[in-house]
């Protein structure tokens, strides 16, 4: 530290000392450089650790397996959905999902807007409960129906299908009928 306060140069009255660089600052400087070499070695040179894309593929496959197992364990059917209409908790949950994402096209009570009226007896893409599941999950992109399966996940798809089933034939005045008449059961 013998050089402390030695004036190196003077510019327009500004004196310049030449103090030593603080050790903690040097530690940050060299620490980040060493880390950079190490990171590059592990992730780029040898690729020992998984890249972000590899990590994503792993998570995706895990989720796919989980959902496939779930589907196999509790398969859905027209009958199971119809019977759930009598379960107020499921209908209520489905109503919440409907209010969150479906309303913008089918309106608050399902009476239709951009999309068709869901409360009449006319159906465009099949009228069975499993048809509703299919419509929600996969949509009909060329007809403007979004596919919601990925975003909602199996549980919410089921709930919202139960809700739609519950408002069947409530005949809320709204968009005029579209599609085939399916006789009320």
């Amino acid at each position: 530290m013998s050089e402390k306060n030695r004036v190196h140069h003077v510019y327009d009255g500004i004196e310049e000392e030449d103090n030593r660089l603080p050790n903690w600052w040097l530690a940050i400087l060299f620490g980040t450089i060493v880390f950079a070499f190490g990171y590059w070695f592990v992730y780029e040179t040898t690729q020992t650790l998984p890249s972000p894309l590899d990590e994503y593929e792993g998570e995706r496959n895990a989720l796919a397996a989980q959902q496939a197992k779930q589907a196999a364990d509790s398969p859905l059917s027209n009958e199971s959905i119809k019977s759930l209409v009598n379960d107020p908790a499921t209908v209520e949950a489905g109503k919440k999902v409907f209010a969150g994402v479906c309303v913008s096209c089918h309106s608050a009570q399902g009476q239709g807007g951009i999309g068709p009226n869901l409360t009449d007896k006319y159906w465009l893409h099949g009228a069975e409960p499993m048809d509703i599941i299919n419509a929600v999950e996969n949509g009909f992109p060329d007809k403007g129906m979004e596919a919601w399966g990925a975003r909602l996940g199996p549980e919410k798809v089921k709930q919202v299908a139960v809700f739609v089933e519950s408002i069947r034939n409530t005949n809320v005045p709204g968009k005029a009928p579209q599609g085939e008449i399916i006789a009320a059961e």
């Binding site: 140069h9 500004i14 000392e17 940050i28 950079a36 070499f37 040179t45 995706r60």
Partner: protein, 810 residues
């Protein structure tokens, strides 16, 4: 040795100061307005010229180029005359610089609200204005280097190093990023496309922050802080190390704006690692500033100038710690596309640039008018308003950013999105947005206080000119060893060159052994360099840095070399990839039709990219929400790229085919009717505006020149093609609107006119195929529909194909 009497040109300094203050007010006023528009979207009053997406570029350009730009020129012109002991070389060039720059600002203020834009952030200005910027920048450079050549002080002070780095680098960045092919006086297409355009843009965007908002202001700090504190600068050697490290490393860090995007992973890693390595060099500047105050801390109590400068440097330290933090991939995964980034840039812009500007103005104005500051109390009040304003701004943006980031990635245990609807996240942002607007307004209030204070100060004195006696430097020939050979063979140059060769080699090797050998070699070289340097110092050998600091040309050349290496190393390989997958894999982008291209130009004009990204990252929450993650070969015809940087609204890269066209139609006219809680402005003018059908041919021809494979027939029939496609799109919209009308059974067989007549019974709208809205919808329905990317939603239950049960998108 003789002396010479010189009179400094301070009139030009005064002019730049008042220009900076004026545009500071404008830029910040627009800032507060757009901040409020995010809470109350109706605040644009339904006028196209005041819509958020057109005003935000006006805000950023005004603050960066008009407010900070003019402040830099004032600070540079005042300080270099004193540091060089020479009057500015040319009054003509100074005035041309001043008026040219103000004319550019005026042109920007007119064209940006008109929607004349290149669609790249902070590089929005169209090509004629870009040309003017380059010319005026050259004028500035000429004036600067000419003055430097006439200097009466051989050695160049650290402040000037930073000015040199600014002038050289901004020229390189600005020209490279703005290369574009003009289609009309007000329209051009970037010569780069997709991932290449993205990398060039963020190499520019990041380094505009580095070399326009940081290095010149560091130079200003090195002059005005020791002046105001009347204390010596802490450490010369720290300034050498942090200057060279800063400018060399900064230029590599651009890809941290593109983490997890379609940019190749190696470039992303470089961006992250160089950003981390920037931490110490940045803090070197802060240290040299703060430690200059050793023994003078008590002055902070009385002197408002020091308060501003010290707080500015402290915010610089905060922002340059936050920057590397945000560049860590996993942190960026959360923060990118959120308000955290907005908060980060404002801690830099308001905290560092704004406070440094205020400190400099409070120091300069009394001196330039030969008086003392009108009100120290006023300046103190300004300081506290500004500081509290910044804190409100930053904290609210942290909260907003982290909240939205976490909500958008939150998954239920069954793997579905916890917050399915994007607008539910917006509801949480409302209070932080109001607090942010208040913080910004407080900052602006303080700024008004400064305007009043400085105006009063100026009026109480009168413009003074400073005249000094300087010793004229003898024009001695360069001593032996200081010539070109001495510089090129200088040890720091040779050693860093060698080390760099090994470092670049590591980038290419894939063998662990070779990489380790190279790292060993670098370590040995480093130790050897250190030993040699210590011996040289003991022997009293003149330092190489001392030599180039006395040689303006050598210093400038070294600076240019230092900033070119990183740029070339990252840009060149990326520009050389043709962005194509091996044949047969598919997944290519298909070129836009004439109508889709017109629609895309409207998307660019309205600034949709300022709130919507077109880049889905490989995260479960994103692919579930938006669809298959984006691939680099899907953007090959995107001149310019539109990946965006902030998601105030959802990503649009898989928007094509997702929604009904009538949904888009209604949504553009009244977003809240379709999506309650949305803060998107309405764009009603798109319905009545007509596309310029004739221009399409020229546009396609320009695209063809840029390498988009349009056939000549496509170009020749562009006009007809547009009408055919637009009528089909319109028919689709009308079909959806009249669907379900009782009296209309066989709708599909009706022609367009019959459909229009039918639609009249449900809606008052007029329906024109050449409406801009139709073209925009045609584009929206095309985005991301690359060949080979699946759009059908996979389903575990119905399709029961586990392999693509979650990732296939929508």
């Amino acid at each position: 040795m003789h002396t010479q009497r010189i009179e400094y040109d301070d009139a030009i300094v005064r002019r730049f100061i008042w220009a900076s203050i004026t545009f500071g007010v404008v830029g910040m006023l627009v800032g507060v307005l757009v901040a409020c528009q995010l809470v109350w979207p109706q605040l644009n009053l339904g006028i196209p010229y005041t819509v958020f997406s057109r005003l935000r570029p006006l805000h950023t350009n005004a603050v960066i180029f008009a407010f900070v730009g003019n402040m830099i020129f004032a600070g540079v012109y005042y300080s270099i005359q004193r540091l060089f002991k020479a009057r500015l070389a040319s009054g003509f060039l100074s005035n041309l610089h001043f008026w040219g720059w103000q004319a550019i600002i005026a042109a920007a203020a007119i064209t940006l609200p008109l929607g004349i834009t290149q669609g790249k952030e902070y590089a929005e200005l169209e090509w004629p204005i870009d040309l003017a910027v380059v010319i005026i920048w050259v004028v500035f450079a000429l004036n600067f280097f000419w003055t430097m050549a006439k200097r009466n002080e051989k050695q160049i002070y650290v402040a000037v190093w930073f000015y040199i780095a600014t002038i050289v680098t901004i020229a390189v960045l600005y020209i490279t990023n703005n290369l574009a092919l003009p289609v009309a006086l007000t329209k051009s297409y970037s010569i780069y496309a997709g991932v290449q355009d993205a990398l060039v843009q963020w190499w520019y965007g990041h380094n505009a922050v580095a070399f326009f908002l940081t290095t010149p202001v560091l130079g200003i700090m090195y002059y005005y802080l020791p002046k105001a504190a009347e204390r010596p600068v802490y450490s010369y050697r720290l300034s050498v190390v942090h200057f060279w490290a800063l400018i060399f490393i900064y230029i590599w860090a651009g890809p941290h704006h593109l983490l997890y995007t379609s940019l190749p992973d190696w470039a992303q890693s470089l961006g992250m690692l160089f950003s981390l390595m920037l931490w110490a060099p940045s803090w070197g500047g802060m240290l040299n500033g703060l430690l200059t105050l050793r023994g003078a801390w008590h002055k902070l109590r009385e002197d408002p100038v020091l308060k501003f400068l010290v707080a500015g440097v402290t915010f610089y330290g905060m922002a340059t710690f936050e920057g590397p933090l945000l560049s860590i991939k996993t942190v960026n995964g959360l923060a990118h596309y959120t308000d955290w980034i907005i908060g980060h840039v404002h801690s830099g812009a308001l905290g560092w640039n704004g406070l440094m500007a205020a400190g400099m103005f409070y120091w300069l104005v009394p001196r330039l008018y030969g008086t003392k500051l009108h009100s120290v109390k006023g300046a103190d009040l300004h300081f506290w308003l500004a500081t509290i304003g910044i804190v409100l701004y930053m904290v609210s943006m942290w909260i907003a950013g982290v909240t939205q980031g976490l909500m958008l990635r939150a998954l239920s245990p069954d793997g579905s999105l916890l917050y399915t609807n994007f607008v539910t996240t917006l509801a949480k942002l409302e209070i932080p947005y109001i607090v942010r607007a208040m913080g910004g307004a407080m900052y602006l209030l303080g700024f008004f206080l400064m305007c009043w204070n400085l105006l009063k100060t100026a009026l109480s004195g009168k413009a003074v000119t400073t005249t000094v006696e300087v010793v004229v430097a003898p024009k001695a020939s360069a001593p032996a060893g200081e010539g070109l050979v001495g510089i090129i063979l200088g040890r720091p140059f040779v050693f860093s060159g060698l080390i760099l060769v090994f470092v670049v080699a590591i980038g290419f090797v894939t063998s662990a052994m070779v990489a380790m050998a190279l790292m060993g070699a670098i370590l040995l070289l480093g130790i050897f360099a250190w030993v040699v340097n210590t011996r040289d110092k003991k022997a009293g050998r003149k330092s190489w840095f001392g030599i180039i600091e006395g040689n303006a040309l050598a210093f400038t050349t070294m600076t240019l070399l230092a900033i070119l290496i990183g740029g070339v190393a990252e840009l060149l390989p990326t520009l050389l990839i043709h962005q194509k997958l091996p044949q047969g894999e598919g997944k290519y982008q298909t070129p836009y039709t004439a109508l889709e291209l017109q629609g895309r130009d409207i998307y660019v004009r309205e600034g949709c990219y300022l709130c919507h990204s077109q880049q889905i990252r490989p995260f479960l929450a994103e692919t579930l929400r938006y669809g298959e993650h984006s691939k680099l070969e899907e953007f090959v015809y995107d001149h310019p790229f539109q990946w965006g940087s902030r998601r105030t609204g959802p990503d649009l890269h898989r928007e094509g085919g997702k929604q009904a066209s009538s949904w888009h139609y209604k949504h553009m006219l009244d977003p809240r009717e379709i999506s309650a809680g949305s803060n998107m402005p309405a764009y009603p003018w798109l319905k009545t505006n007509q596309i310029n059908v004739k221009l399409a041919e020229k546009k396609l021809r320009a695209m063809q020149k840029l390498g988009v494979p349009y056939t000549n027939a496509q170009i020749d029939y562009a006009e007809l093609d547009q009408q055919t496609q637009a009528e089909a799109v319109l028919k689709g919209i009308l079909l959806e609107i009249v669907a379900g009308l009782q009296e209309a059974k066989d709708l599909e067989s009706l022609d367009l006119e019959a459909l229009k007549a039918l639609a009249k019974t449900v809606s008052e709208d007029s329906w024109n195929w050449d409406s801009e809205l139709v073209a925009l919808i045609a584009y929206l329905q095309k985005i991301g529909r690359s060949e080979g990317v699946k759009f059908d939603a996979p389903s575990a239950r119905v399709a029961a194909t586990p392999a693509d049960a979650s990732g296939g998108g929508l």
